[in-house]
Structures are given as structure tokens and as C-alpha cells.
């Protein structure tokens, strides 16, 4: 029996398969594995951001700072590598620590002063974008043999497709995210806080500590997305990834996570981001449609999924509870 709370994720999977099937039916080129592996590569940074965002939304919060974080981390990495000549591995490590620290600070402000996450992360959004400009006003290329080597990694799969380094990194981070959500106490505490914060506290869940960890995790995942984005574009630009926070929220919601928290799956967010990617690819294959049709389609889907969730909650309430 399918639990009604799992219905949204099945709906998401169905929509993804329908869209992908439509592409395969309509365009010959779509049938090649290349399309799928390119989807993984092109949407890697969005998926990684959405995985971090899933934890925040599961806990009933929101993180608007992730797009700016991607740009800031990219610019910071470029600065460390090209201006200070630090080895990329160390530069990446520093960037990730900065990402965790900024996330944790936002989490502390949210939990200690009990301020709305919306406002705190909005401040973070402006702050990180500003910091990115403070380091560098223009786009800079990241030229380092190590980065080039990473970009060149390519594992072929049957057909013409193949997995790039960032696609594989994304898949690993996705699996880690799933394990954190379902197989750790921290993950269960996130679900509990999103489900009923007061009860969670009475059940002994450390609310403040967990909240700090949630935003630190989102900071880490958006910093990782920043690193992936920098490798993907081999450059850094302070205006990069504008609006990605909203794409990530859309991915999470389309993936079946309730905006009020407590219900949802990390894998759903992966599907949500992939759906956005498939729509974009379909529009590219069509050739005659403006790329803004992507936004139109995503807007429509988002509306559909939010209404679907409302309907499911309504049905669940109407059906008398089993005894």
C-alpha cells in the first residue's frame, strides 16, 4: 500500500518519466544516453544545492542565501587559486569551511534569537553577494592544471554518454544526503522538528543544536555547489547563480517536500531538479521555443504540486484514522 504522504514523490517520478518519454518519442537524439548524462552534469550544482535545501525545508525553514553562496565561493576559490596561488585542493577545503561557518552563523542567529529564517538568510543572500563583489568585480577564468584535470575526467557509459567528475561528485553527495536524512539521528531530528517543534523538544530533541547543524549543512552543500559550478564553468563571476535559491526551492517542492516541514525525501529534490533540466532540454531540442518557456513550465508544475500536496493533506484528514 502506498502511504499518501509518499504520493507526491511518485507523482514527481511519473512527471519526470512522462517528460523524458515524450522527449524520446519526439526526438531521435533524445534516446541517446548522452542526454541523460548531460542532464546530470548540467544540473549538478542545482541538485547539490537542492539536497542541502531539502534539510532546511524539512525542518520548516528556508535558506535564501544559497545562490549568493555559490557565487561567493566561486569568486573566493578563484582568488585563492589565481591571486594567492594556493593549491586548488586547499582552496576548496578553505571555501567549504567558510561555507559551513557562514551557514552555522545563520543557524545560530535563527535559533538563539528566534528570528525568522526567511529574514536571516535574506540578509545572508545580500551579504554573500556583496562579499563576492568585494573580492572581484569581474568574471575571472580559473586556470590551474588540477582544475583542468578534474574537468577532463570522463567515464564513458554505453551510447555516447559519459559521467563527468562533477556528475559523479553530485551523485556521491546525493547518496550522502539520503543517508544523512534517513539513517542518522540528526536526519530524524530534522524530520521531528519540521513535524512538530514543541513535541520534538519534549521528546528530547536538541532543537537549537540541530537548527545550527541544519543551516551549516545547507551552507556546506551550497559551498560544494559553488565549487562544482566553478569547475563546470572554469571561471568565477560575482553575478553567477542569481535566483538559484528559488530554483532550488522549486526543485524541493516539486520533489514532494512539504513547505511546512516534516514530510519529504532528498531523492525527490533530485527528481525535482532533473525535471527542470528535462524541460530545458526539451525546449532546446524543439529549437523554436524561447527559453523562457522553461520558467513558464516550472511555474505551472510548481503550482500543480503545491495544490496536489494540499489535496493530499485534505484527503488524509477526511479519511477517518484507522484504529
Amino acid at each position: 500500500m502506498i502511504n499518501e504522504r509518499n504520493l507526491p514523490i511518485f507523482a514527481t517520478l511519473t512527471v519526470f518519466l512522462l517528460l523524458y518519454g515524450f522527449g524520446m518519442y519526439e526526438y531521435k537524439g533524445f534516446r541517446d544516453t548522452l542526454v541523460f548524462t548531460n542532464l546530470l552534469t548540467d544540473n549538478a550544482f542545482l541538485i547539490v544545492t537542492a539536497v542541502g535545501m531539502t534539510f532546511v525545508i524539512l525542518s520548516g525553514g528556508i535558506d535564501l542565501s544559497v545562490g549568493s553562496m555559490i557565487a561567493f565561493i566561486g569568486v573566493l576559490m578563484a582568488y585563492l587559486i589565481t591571486s594567492l596561488h594556493i593549491h586548488p585542493i586547499l582552496a576548496i577545503a578553505i571555501s567549504l569551511i567558510v561555507g559551513i561557518a557562514f551557514g552555522a552563523i545563520m543557524g545560530m542567529i535563527i535559533s538563539v534569537f528566534e528570528i525568522q529564517p526567511f529574514i536571516v538568510t535574506l540578509a545572508g543572500m545580500f551579504l554573500f553577494r556583496g562579499l563576492a563583489y568585494l573580492i572581484n568585480l569581474d568574471a575571472v577564468p580559473i586556470n590551474h592544471p588540477f582544475i583542468t584535470a578534474l574537468s577532463d575526467i570522463y567515464v564513458s557509459v554505453p551510447g555516447r554518454g559519459g559521467l563527468t567528475f562533477i556528475a559523479m561528485a553530485m551523485l556521491v553527495l546525493l547518496v550522502v544526503g539520503i543517508l544523512i536524512a534517513r539513517r542518522t539521528r540528526f536526519g530524524m531530528n530534522v524530520y521531528a522538528i519540521g513535524g512538530d517543534k514543541q513535541s520534538a523538544a519534549l521528546l528530547g530533541v536538541p532543537i537549537k543544536k540541530t537548527t545550527v547543524k541544519i543551516y551549516a549543512l545547507s551552507g556546506l552543500y551550497s559551498a560544494l555547489a559553488g565549487v562544482i559550478f566553478a569547475i563546470y564553468t572554469s571561471s568565477a563571476y560575482p553575478l553567477a547563480a542569481v535566483g538559484v535559491e528559488l530554483d532550488a526551492i522549486a526543485a524541493v517542492v516539486i520533489g514532494g517536500t512539504l513547505l511546512t516541514g516534516g514530510v519529504g525525501y532528498v531523492f525527490g529534490s533530485f527528481l525535482g531538479a532533473m525535471i527542470q533540466g528535462v524541460i530545458q532540454t526539451l525546449i532546446t531540442f524543439d529549437g523554436s521555443l524561447n527559453s523562457w518557456w522553461t520558467k513558464l513550465a516550472i511555474g505551472g508544475l510548481l503550482l500543480f504540486f503545491i495544490l496536489l500536496q494540499k489535496a493530499i493533506v485534505f484527503w488524509a484528514k477526511k479519511r477517518s484514522p484507522a484504529t
Partner: protein, 524 residues
């Protein structure tokens, strides 16, 4: 209220120290000047079901919150199993061996039963939660509360409240619980569910666990408990073996009056001349809220509602006013026949609150701070609220008219305030209560419902408010007044409805209205 010195003599002086599980000695706690607990001592033994009883504000919930570490204590000493304990929060209290189940099920409805039962206690293998082991553990815990056949992988909110309550108990037993606190667990359960809970409690008791049981239902106290401790006004009245404490003694301990102290007949008002019928309730009730009852209120009379805390006083008021919709019966509000003789009675059962206000009803709820006043708004704004609502929000009331109305009310009710634009939150409790009264008086109601109009206000204001009520009654208004102060009820009520366990058990009128009669009815 006369303190009775003889009460302490009933308490158990002989206590078997070897079996003492929890010992509380002279525990005190105050909140910004209010003494919630004053030198309370309590002992719970192993294998004992200990009832903790008391009226509203007696200190039961404060005691439980101090025990479980939600509030820090001011003074006193708590020992569990002979070791002094200081719980930091409810998680820590659980580790120490004190588990609590609250009236509201404190679990996560959107998570599965297994996830709920193992939260923060999941067993891990290789650093990750092992859901197989968690599932086994959940099933074992469920078996302890007699729910062997329940599917723990289903979401918690798929089960009824009663099952959820049992699951909450199963969870409470999961940590090494020595003391189980059940805070009104039966409020939302039906008879067979309560039976199930009681057999579980007996089983746990036989395993040597100590249980503190808080309830409003006296029948349940006599069904299951071994010992009763009564709290009143933050003080411990005494601890008594259940078997040797009569119901009437118990009730008089709870309300702070001994039956012998009371005159059989008080100087209460003789029935006025009931005029037109104002409100008729026919078989009005709501499932799990209030058993169906009949009630008629006439113009020019005060109907009192008596009963212990949780007996259904407030529920009756809410149903009569319409802020809670009944699921059966008819409420009819009769029009003022002298003004419009031809008018039809209005059936109010399914009407909106605004219609209730428009047809001449007013309601002052029990908790002023929560439901009544808007503390940030001024006296004038608070007083005008109901009038504005009855007129409709789009028809503004001229400021000069507002000022005149409010000024009249401040004089008439003798509200002590420098000016009418002071925020209500800055007034004393008695004056706040008068502001709420004034709010309704401005609308010229025919029927006023007051729930605990004198709670938490000083003696002077007490008398003033009772006087105002009596004046209103003489002017032909009908009043329905719920109160826990029997002395007061007897003084002003023409008729008294006695509530017990959400039933109307009696309606006393005329010379039958006395404190003794009310207490007897409650205790019987």
C-alpha cells in the same frame, strides 16, 4: 477560605523508606511574584499509583514541570531512588528515569510509529541507524502496552488519539523509566480505552514502577489509585490513602472547604421574578466535549455553573455562546417580546458568532489574557471592539461617540485609570476584567455569559464585579456565570447548574442553592 489545621493529621506519617521512589521535600517555585509552589513535599513509592489532584492554579502542572526540568526550582530537594536529581530539560529527566505523558499527545504525527518510538534512541550499526533493530525494538515496546498487532511502519496520525496515547506511553517506557507521570491522559479517551490504559497501569505498578496520575475524573481516582495527594493554591493539603478518604472529604480538600464548616443554607438571593425566556438549550452537546443537556435562561436571573476543574463548566459556556459549535441539539435565542411581540425566536445552532453578538449575547472567557483583552490596544479600543463587530466593520463609530460611551463605562464601573487611551495590559487584573465587561455592556446585551469573572483579581474588585452583575440582573439582563468559587456562586446565583465529568448532574434552585448541596452533588 478558612485553612483547616486538622487536615495534615490525616496525612501518612508512616512511610516505608525502603520503597520510596521519589521524595520531594519543601519544593518552592514562584513566577514573577506569584508563589506557584510553596514548600510542597511529596513521596511516591515503588509500585504505587499516586493521584495528584487540585483545582486550577493549585500547582499540579508547575510541580510536574519542575520535576521534568522544564522550569528550574527556587528551593527544595528532589530525590529519585535515594539520589538527589536536577533535571535540566525533559530529555535529561528521561535519562534520569522520569518519563511524562501529557494530555496532548506529544509525538510527531508526520513520522512513523517506529520513528517516533526510537527518536534520539535509535540503535546504530556502522554509524548509521539500523532500522531493522529499531523496528524490533518498536514492536517490543508496543507489546508492553498491549499493541502487539499494530503496524509500526505506518504513520502515527493514521491511528486514533487513544492509540497514539498508548504509543506515547510505550515511548515513555522505552527509556529506563522508574517514575511515570501521566498528566490527564484520559481526557480524550472513551470508556473502553480508559479500561485498556488502566490495565496497563496496573501491570506497570506490579512491575514496581511508580506512577503519578493527574486527572479531573474522581471516579478514575477511586478506580485505580492507591494514594491521593491534594494540592491547593501551591500548597500541599495532604496525602491520603485512597481507600480511607471519602469522596466528600476529597472534594472539600480540593475546594478548600469542609462540609461541616458550611451552613446548610446560605444567604443567597431568593429567586427573582423570572421574566421572559432568553435562551433555550435543548439537548445541546458535542462528542468528547459535553454530554447533551437542557438549560433555559430567563431575563433578570443569574444562572450559576458549578463544578470542579474539567467538569465541563467552560464547555457549557462555549456551547451556549456558540464559540464552539454543538453537534447535536437546538439553541434558541428568544427575541425581546416586549419590544417586538411578533418576532420569531432565532435558532442559533448553526449561526455565526457575529450573529450571536447581534442578537444580544456577550461572552467573557475564562482566560482574559489569552481570549479576552488585546493587551496592546487602549482601553477605548478594547471597549469598542464588540460594538464595532455587531455593527459591522465598515460602519465606523464617530470618535466623539466612542469617547462618550467609554467615559460613561469608566465611571459606571469605577475603572481606575488616568485616561482611556492607556494600553489595557498596564491595568490591574480587576480593572482588565471590568474593561471586558464594559466591552459587552456597551452593546446592551440581553444575555451575558461570564466564565470565571473573578479569577485572579483582588478582593475589592471581586465585590465590585459581583455588585455590577447583580445590578445588571436587576435591570433585566440574563446572566450565565461559571465559577469555581462556590461561596460566590451561592451568593449571587438564582439557580445553579452542577457539572460533573462533562455531564449536567443537577440544577439547584431556590432554597436548595447552598455550598453544601453543591459539594454533595459533586461528591455523590
Amino acid at each position: 477560605m478558612t485553612p483547616h489545621s486538622n487536615v495534615k493529621d490525616h496525612s501518612r506519617t508512616t512511610s516505608d523508606h525502603s520503597s520510596a521512589l521519589l521524595q520531594i521535600r519543601s519544593l518552592s517555585k514562584s513566577f514573577t511574584g506569584v508563589q506557584a509552589l510553596n514548600a510542597v513535599s511529596l513521596q511516591v513509592n515503588k509500585g504505587e499509583i499516586h493521584a495528584l489532584l487540585g483545582e486550577n492554579g493549585a500547582g499540579k502542572s508547575t510541580l510536574i514541570k519542575v520535576l521534568t526540568g522544564v522550569h528550574p526550582r527556587d528551593e527544595g530537594d528532589i530525590q529519585l531512588d535515594g539520589r538527589a536529581i536536577h533535571a535540566r530539560d525533559s530529555g535529561h529527566a528521561q535519562q534520569l528515569g522520569i518519563s511524562t505523558v501529557y494530555q496532548e499527545v506529544n509525538l510527531i504525527p508526520s513520522m512513523s510509529v517506529t520513528e517516533n518510538l526510537t527518536l534520539q534512541q535509535q540503535e546504530k550499526s556502522f554509524g548509521l541507524i539500523n532500522w531493522k533493530k529499531a523496528d524490533t525494538r518498536a514492536r517490543a515496546l508496543l507489546a508492553r502496552v498491549g499493541l502487539e498487532n499494530l503496524d509500526p511502519s505506518r504513520q502515527l496520525d493514521r491511528y486514533s488519539i487513544a492509540i497514539q496515547q498508548l504509543i506515547a506511553i510505550a515511548r515513555a517506557l522505552s527509556s529506563e523509566a522508574k517514575l511515570l507521570i501521566l498528566d490527564e491522559p484520559t481526557a480524550s479517551l472513551d470508556a473502553s480505552e480508559i479500561k485498556q490504559l488502566f490495565s496497563l497501569m496496573t501491570q506497570l505498578k506490579n512491575q514496581g514502577m511508580g506512577i503519578i496520575f493527574v486527572t479531573h475524573f474522581l471516579d478514575q481516582v477511586y478506580d485505580i489509585t492507591d494514594v491521593i495527594t491534594v494540592l491547593r493554591n501551591g500548597e500541599c493539603v495532604g496525602t491520603f490513602p485512597t481507600a480511607s478518604l471519602s469522596r466528600s472529604d476529597l472534594v472539600s480538600h480540593m475546594v478548600g472547604k469542609s462540609l461541616d464548616d458550611l451552613a446548610t443554607s446560605s444567604d443567597h438571593q431568593t429567586t427573582g421574578k423570572p421574566q421572559n425566556t432568553l435562551l433555550t438549550m435543548q439537548h445541546v452537546g458535542k462528542q468528547r466535549f459535553l454530554h447533551p443537556l437542557d438549560l433555559t435562561i430567563h431575563a433578570g436571573e443569574i444562572v450559576g455553573v458549578a463544578g470542579l476543574l474539567g467538569s465541563g463548566r467552560t464547555e457549557l459556556c462555549e456551547l451556549a455562546y456558540g464559540s464552539t459549535k454543538p453537534d447535536q441539539g437546538h439553541i434558541t435565542l428568544h427575541p425581546d417580546s416586549s419590544a417586538t411581540p411578533a418576532a420569531e425566536p432565532t435558532s442559533l445552532t448553526q449561526k455565526s458568532l457575529r450573529q450571536a453578538i447581534q442578537s444580544g449575547m456577550g461572552y467573557c472567557p475564562e482566560d482574559r489574557k489569552l481570549d479576552g483583552i488585546v493587551a496592546e490596544l487602549s482601553i477605548r479600543e478594547n471597549m469598542i471592539l464588540a460594538l464595532q463587530a455587531s455593527k459591522g466593520w465598515w460602519r465606523s463609530i464617530a470618535m466623539s461617540e466612542q469617547k462618550k460611551l467609554v467615559d460613561d463605562m469608566i465611571k459606571r464601573l469605577a475603572i481606575k485609570t488616568p485616561d482611556m487611551d492607556k494600553p489595557v495590559g498596564e491595568l490591574s487584573g480587576g480593572n482588565q476584567q471590568k474593561v471586558i465587561l464594559a466591552r459587552w455592556l456597551i452593546t446592551h446585551p440581553k444575555l451575558l455569559i461570564l466564565d470565571e469573572p473573578t479569577r485572579g483579581i483582588d478582593i475589592g474588585a471581586h465585590h465590585e464585579i459581583i455588585q455590577i452583575m447583580q445590578e445588571l440582573c436587576e435591570q433585566g439582563m440574563g446572566l450565565l456565570v461559571a465559577s469555581s468559587e462556590l461561596e460566590e456562586l451561592v451568593m449571587f446565583a438564582h439557580r445553579v447548574v452542577v457539572m460533573k465529568d462533562h455531564h449536567k448532574v443537577a440544577e439547584l434552585r431556590g432554597s436548595d442553592v447552598s455550598e453544601q448541596a453543591i459539594l454533595h452533588t459533586i461528591a455523590s
